[in-house]
């Protein structure tokens, strides 16, 4: 409601700096397009919440689940609603991307609401993966645009973008994400699967919100799409294909919700086609279509849910003759079905009229295809409604709450009102189209009782559609072959194969990684070293490796370092544990000497202390263990291949470390004078040794924590050695 008022007040916008260093702003604007989709998301959302408040308790009762789980669904729905509103108003592509992914996450929660059900989980995952993986492509596209023009603000982009290959590729990537979200061929397979969701979720996400987000994005970036005619043509092809595939599959399916899912694919195919046709007619038609479709389709989804609740039937053929027994539902959903099928006196009539007009503008072939598509729509809608409400009554009828019925009736009434008083609806769509088109748009929706082309096309579509509907039984076999083929060769197969492959790959990696400590180490060290080596390889080497001076006074330092290296090299060759401990002490004391030669008496002192304790600790622990345990370890000989592998890994990591450290030491060049000044400051902190001043004063708190760590460690050691702690 607030959105409607805001829109009629002329919209408005605000922006806050989000991450100024990246020039990201949380800019929102309630323009015509945002108003259209916002009204749909919030308005239908409200009805769906009412519907869900009756539906979900029944749903949970069927599955013997706790009533408390209701909150989870409502929470996810609110998350979805909020992210949808953020999405439609975002003016910053990165913010838009974030909300886009939030809707995907919310949809995952909602589709997978029946989490004990494996199909629901897999379906939720599929919806998430198809829409979120393609969203990564979108992010790539956004970043390409940013690299090209240095901004992700849509208004700025529209102002500066020129036709170029980069822009075309970037926009195509974004369009792929949009098409996947709108379940267009070849990404359509996730939508029928998502019907595993509870019905209110489908009524919301899969009619007015989630799938609408795709065409919303196409409308939002339409000024960029218009830069390249190839993109527009691509949209037409995908739109028409989706129309045909969705329509045929809808005509061939039996499941109530599945028919509606295929219908959604086909209906958004219309919208994509119109966006591909472009121009004022296409933009106006697309926006109006979304509005008309969303109202009718959510009513139909709710009908399907109410019918299933009342009779237990989930597919055509299990139900019939409900018209007399549930008249209000029949009337409401009849109006909605008529709206989808574009009968006169419904808002749907105008949506098809605008569609025909836009198609005719592009030529007769497209016009003919449009009629065929509309005929398919008419046929499956007729089959859906008559299948449920006409014919012989079947099955038991259980009483259902009124809240399951009257949202349908309300939406049905809206569809009819839209057919009689089209003005406000047309205004809403026109304002949205103005944003898409970035120019004035005329949207004329009225009945004309004459033989103009659109009227003739509509009549032709009804006739053809009725013929298709009447020959339903004849069409059954070819349609099932079509869906079988689609299943065997379609993109879903590729999806499943890739999921299975990924799963296997991850299992294998998991096996390698967690088998033992060594595997885990290799899994961390090897990729880490590889990345570092890559970094070293691509960094310019100019001036990166300086040898630096070697004054004569440093000769003792060199000797100490050499001793240290030799001792370290000796460690791997020691067989007996005592020798290892001795060699380690050698390394440690050599290092202490090095520190003392580097003008660091404090460090040298601590190092000597620590090395002494270490030597004692090592020897002490060895003394605690029986001789034979250690001796067995010492005698153990690794196979040659493993030895070679370990040596290769060790050498590689050593070499890479040397290179990295060398280049790190080379810049900045050692400078003198800094330390002198620092040291001169020590007396002001009531100390003489600046190192102790740093530790006790500047970093006093750190040192305190450090002391605590040491104390805790010592307690742990003493407990472990006494055998009080058992793992």
């Amino acid at each position: 409601m607030a959105i409607a008022i805001g829109w009629s007040a002329g919209g408005g916008g605000f922006g806050v700096a989000w991450a100024p260093t990246w020039d990201l702003r949380l800019a929102f604007e309630l323009d015509g397009l945002a108003a259209l989709y916002g009204v749909l998301a919030a308005g239908i959302g409200t009805l769906v919440f009412l519907y869900a408040s009756a539906y979900v308790p029944r749903h949970l009762a069927h599955q013997e689940r706790s009533r408390r789980e209701e909150a989870r669904l409502h929470g996810a729905m609110v998350l979805f609603l909020v992210s949808m509103l953020g999405l439609v108003m975002a003016q910053d592509l990165i913010a838009l991307f974030v909300f886009w992914d939030l809707t995907a996450v919310a949809s995952w929660l909602l589709v997978g609401y029946d989490r004990h059900n494996r199909d629901a989980r897999l379906s939720a995952l599929m919806a998430l993966l198809v829409t979120a993986v393609s969203a990564v492509l979108m992010l790539v596209g956004i970043l390409m645009l940013r690299a090209e023009y240095g901004t992700v603000q849509l208004p700025e982009l529209f102002a500066v973008a020129q036709e170029s290959t980069t822009v075309t590729v970037a926009v195509a990537l974004i369009a792929i994400a949009a098409l996947a979200k709108s379940a267009q061929v070849p990404f359509h397979f996730w939508l029928p699967r998502a019907m595993a969701a509870p019905t209110p979720v489908s009524a919301y996400l899969h009619s007015a919100a989630m799938v609408a987000a795709g065409v919303f994005l196409l409308s939002r970036i339409h000024p960029l799409i218009q830069l390249d005619a190839r993109l527009l043509d691509g949209l037409i092809v995908i739109g028409l294909t989706s129309m045909a595939v969705g329509g045929l599959l809808a005509l061939g399916s039996r499941g109530l919700k599945r028919i509606l899912a295929y219908s959604t694919i086909s209906q958004y195919g219309y919208v994509v086609t119109m966006l591909g046709i472009g121009g004022a007619a296409g933009a106006a038609g697309a926006c109006f279509y979304v509005l008309g479709h969303a109202l009718a389709k959510s009513a139909l989804f709710m009908t399907a849910g109410a019918v299933t609740e009342a009779t237990g039937a989930k597919a055509l053929g299990e139900v019939g003759g409900l018209a007399r027994r549930m008249p209000l539902l029949a009337a409401g959903s009849g109006a909605a079905a008529a709206g989808i099928a574009a009968l006169p006196l419904t808002i749907g009539f105008f949506k098809d009229e605008l569609f025909f007009k836009a198609a005719l503008d592009r030529g007769n072939v497209l016009g003919a295809l449009a009629v065929l598509g509309a005929a398919l729509t008419f046929a499956y809608m007729a089959r859906f409604w008559t299948g449920i409400f006409l014919g012989a009554p079947k099955g038991e009828l259980r009483p259902v709450e009124r809240r399951l019925i009257w949202p349908v009736a309300l939406l049905g009434a809206l569809v009819v009102v839209g057919g009689l008083v089209v003005g406000p609806f047309a205004d809403l769509a026109r304002d949205a189209a103005v944003v898409t088109q970035r120019g004035a748009v005329e949207l004329e929706a009225a009945y004309h009782l004459d033989a103009r082309a659109e009227n003739l096309m509509a009549i032709g579509a009804y006739a053809l559609g009725f013929a298709l509907f009447a020959s339903g039984r004849l069409l059954g076999a070819p349609l099932s072959v079509f869906s079988r083929l689609g299943h065997d060769l379609g993109p879903e197969r590729a999806y499943n194969a890739s999921i299975r492959g990924l799963n296997r790959l991850s299992n294998r990696l998991h096996d390698i990684e967690v088998r033992d400590l060594r595997g885990r180490l290799i899994a961390v060290v090897v990729p880490g070293a590889g990345l570092v080596a890559l970094g070293v390889a691509v960094t310019p080497t100019d001036g990166a490796y300086r040898t630096g001076a070697l004054p004569a006074a440093d000769v003792p330092l060199v000797v100490a370092l050499a001793v240290c290296a030799l001792a370290a090299l000796a460690v791997p060759f020691c067989r007996r544990h005592l020798l290892i401990a001795l060699a380690l002490s050698g390394v440690g004391f050599a290092l202490a000497t090095t520190y003392s030669l580097m003008g660091a008496p404090d460090v040298a002192l601590v190092a000597v202390l620590i090395e002494t304790i270490f030597a004692l600790l090592f020897v002490g622990v060895f003394a605690l263990l029986p001789r034979d345990v250690l001796r067995r370890e010492a005698r153990l000989r690794a196979p040659r291949s493993r030895k070679l592998r370990d040596a290769a890994i060790a050498t590689a990591s050593g070499v890479v470390t040397s290179l990295v450290v060398w280049s790190a030491f080379s810049r900045p060049v050692p400078r003198e004078g800094m330390s002198d000044r620092l040291s001169a400051l020590a007396p002001e902190a009531h100390g003489k040794d600046i190192v102790t001043v740093i530790l006790a004063d500047f970093r006093g708190l750190d040192t305190l924590v450090e002391i605590t760590v040491v104390a805790v460690a010592m307690i742990a050691v003493s407990l472990l050695l006494r055998g009080k702690l058992r793992g």
């Binding site: 039996r254 299943h487 370290a568 270490f614 002198d676």
Partner: protein, 143 residues
């Protein structure tokens, strides 16, 4: 001086990694000690002035003063490293007391055998093979 320090640090690190890959727990700890030694030396050697007189006031003469900042950091690193290594050593002893072995290969073999024995008692979770059963999920949509 730069390449010299780099080589010594590389040697320390390489030997450390080599030992880390050994099955003997004590050698693994020795490897860890070497690696942290390499890190400490890196810290120390990355000072702006690498050698000279100790940074203790009052400074006398013209000899440059060593960088005190890296010294303070190395001190912290040394002490923490010492604490960690002592706990590891004690843990090693704990492992020996619990398992009578300090060999990683042997320990993971035993662990795997125990896990297998546990799994034999309980039926495996079907979550694992969820994606391999997808074919059934496939079929259902054709209807």
């Amino acid at each position: 001086m730069n390449p010299l320090f780099a080589i010594v640090i590389g040697v320390l690190f390489g030997c450390g990694v080599f030992l880390l890959l050994k099955p003997d727990l004590f050698r693994v700890i020795a490897g860890l000690v070497l690696v942290s030694n390499a890190a400490n030396l890196t810290l120390m050697a990355s000072g702006l002035t690498r050698s000279g007189q100790a940074p203790i006031a009052p400074v006398e003469g013209n000899e440059p003063v060593a960088d005190p900042l890296v010294q303070a950091m190395t001190l912290t690193a040394l002490v923490i490293g010492f604490a960690v290594t002592s706990v590891l050593l004690a843990l090693c002893y704990g492992v020996y007391r619990a398992r009578r072995s300090v060999d990683l290969d042997e320990l993971s073999r035993e662990e795997a055998a125990e896990a297998a024995a546990l799994e034999a008692d309980e039926p495996p979770l079907d979550e694992e093979s969820e994606y391999d059963q997808q074919d059934e999920f496939d079929e259902e949509i054709v209807r």
